[in-house]
């Protein structure tokens, strides 16, 4: 397997606060890489660095053999790296279909509006939103909006999809559906890099897991090893029950 994403020593400082410090890891083609860590560990900041919302103070990011360290988010999408937001951001004044059409139009293939519409309909079918295609995006439930986020990103035909807490706030049925969706995405050949707080889910889904604490990487290993890593246990001890959760699910 070759590395699709190579992150080498990136950091981000906001004023005096080190949000991400000297983080390195590789993401292999076809894998689901999990990213976990206590609140404030810098997970979303790391995502923002990878897709170019923030520019890293140090290091380099190579995606699909291209250096994207200084690229802007829109350039990164054209190369095939799409993402979802932790706090859903539908384009509220537009329909569900239009939202996803935007993703396809400005994605990796830079499709024409007509082709993008067809792509969007396919993707909506796949994420189970086809029946809502013409509803306003603002009318969706939270679970629907999370699916919309995923659909928009998928419509860009990415090679790598960054998922930022797509399970948060969903009920158990919705979580199960979303897990199936993530698996099917990976099975269709798209690599996945996901932040998740729902431990059971991420332990089951991920091939490997990167653990951040206070902006630094403290572990990178398959789920089974991560739960036994003493550093990880210490980092999570702030919330005592997490240990059992980790053990129970792995």
């Amino acid at each position: 397997m070759t590395a699709l994403l190579e992150v080498q020593g990136i950091s981000k400082r906001f004023g005096g606060l080190l949000a991400v410090g000297d983080v390195s890891f590789n993401l292999m083609e076809g894998e689901i890489l999990g990213l976990i860590g206590p609140n404030g560990a810098g997970k979303t900041t790391l995502f923002n660095l990878v897709n170019g919302v923030y520019k890293s103070d140090t290091g380099s990011i190579i995606f699909s053999s291209k250096n994207i360290t200084r690229s802007s988010p829109d350039q990164v999408v054209h190369l095939g790296l799409a993402r979802t937001h932790q706090i859903v951001r539908p384009l509220n004044g537009m329909s569900v279909l239009e939202n996803v059409t935007v993703g396809a139009c400005f994605g990796r293939e830079y499709q024409s509006r007509r082709t993008a519409r067809i792509t969007a309909l396919e993707v909506l079918e796949r994420v189970g939103l086809a029946s809502r295609a013409n509803s306003p995006a603002s009318s969706l439930t939270l679970a629907g909006k999370k699916r919309l986020e995923v659909a928009r990103a998928l419509a860009a035909r990415p090679k790598l999809l960054l998922l930022d807490e797509v399970l948060a706030g969903l009920n158990p049925t919705e979580i199960a559906q979303m897990i199936d969706l993530v698996r099917s995405i990976r099975d269709s050949g798209v690599s996945v890099f996901m932040i998740e707080h729902v431990m059971q889910a991420i332990m089951n889904l991920s091939d490997r897991i990167v653990v951040l604490n206070l902006g630094r990487k403290i572990a990178e290993a398959p789920p089974r090893e991560v739960v036994q890593n003493p550093d990880v246990i210490v980092a999570y001890l702030g919330s005592p029950d997490i240990l059992d959760k980790l053990r129970g699910s792995a």
Binding site: E98, V102, G103, G107
Partner: protein
């Protein structure tokens, strides 16, 4: 296909009516009324590209019209150019300037951008008021010889009128074309959430600068035509802040973001204003009425007349864009 869209045919019909009605019976006063309506529609529909499509409030939209007028009148009177090349050159010159300005001020978002557009308007007006080649605060007159190539003043006024009507139709068709295009989709995405749009792959910086520049072109052409027709241009009429603001009222009245709304709002408001200004009892209150109207529209029907129609007849959305 744009040819399959009903609104295109309505626009062409509107333009044909505008051209035919005053010509029929040589009705000059009707022509003078309609030219103002056409101008209102030109300004409103191009302003709509910024406010309605992209979500950026441009308070200084009139600056394009005024500068277009200056460049065109200058080319005609000082350089002796023909009307049409002057107007087109004015359009390109002002668009280019807008592109350069746009790359600077479009780094600003929301209210900051809106304020910067006021700054641009006042700064440009002040510059022109001091600019010697353009006659400083007294402005310029269109020389009598400029009418000659168009067959004398009487003929020239009709020609100018038809050109204005053509620019009106082009403005609406441009709005229609952009709305259905990929470019338009990107603009709407920026309007809804610029950061999300960027993450979806829209190059917001370039898109915004381009639409700012595009929205300058036809108003600048119209500026040359109108000030040629008026025979004179000076900084206070070319850069009238109130007209810039009334353009926003027209757009809100008709329905921002829609092609039909910009035409409807422009047309209706311009007729209302003309009626109020000529009415002996109400002329003093035209601003009061306009203000009250604006307040009512944004309070009761923020989508304007077209937005109201959409709510009443949801299917109308597919025909009236």
């Amino acid at each position: 296909m744009i040819l399959r869209r009903p609104l295109l045919w309505l626009i062409l019909l509107l333009a044909a009516l505008f051209a035919w009605l005053p010509l029929h019976g040589n009705n000059v006063s009707l022509r003078e009324d309609l030219i103002l309506v056409a101008l209102a529609i030109i300004l409103t529909s191009n302003l709509n590209l910024m406010i309605g499509y992209t979500g950026y409030v441009n308070f200084g939209h009139i600056v394009f019209y005024g500068l277009g007028g200056y460049v065109g009148v200058y080319l005609m009177t000082v350089r002796g150019w023909h009307l049409v090349p002057s107007a087109v050159t004015a359009g390109f010159a002002v668009s280019l300037m807008a592109l350069l300005f746009g790359l600077g001020i479009l780094r600003l978002r929301g209210a900051y951008f809106a304020l910067a557009t006021i700054g641009v308007l006042v700064a440009v007006q002040s510059f022109v008021s001091n600019f010697e080649p353009w006659g400083r605060s007294t402005g310029m007159y269109v020389s009598f010889e400029s009418y000659a190539p168009l067959g004398g003043p009487r003929h020239a006024l009709w020609t100018t009128y038809f050109l204005i009507v053509a620019v009106m139709a082009l403005s609406l068709i441009l709005s229609l074309g952009i709305k259905a295009s990929k470019f338009g989709l990107g603009l709407f995405a920026i309007r809804e959430d610029e950061d999300a749009a960027i993450v979806l792959g829209v190059n917001a910086t370039i898109y915004k600068a381009i639409i700012y520049s595009v929205s300058a072109f036809l108003p600048a052409v119209a500026g040359t035509l109108m000030f040629f027709k008026n025979g004179t241009i000076d900084p206070s009429i070319a850069f009238e802040f109130m007209l810039s603001l009334e353009g926003i009222v027209m757009l809100m009245l008709g329905g921002q973001g829609t092609v039909a709304g910009s035409a409807l709002g422009g047309g209706l408001y311009e007729r209302l204003r003309s009626y109020l200004l000529t009415s002996p009892r109400l002329s003093e209150f035209h601003l009061v009425i306009a203000g009250a109207l604006l307040l009512l529209v944004i309070r009761l029907a923020p989508g304007g007349l077209i937005g109201w129609l959409y709510r009443l007849v949801p299917r109308s959305r597919e025909v009236i864009e």
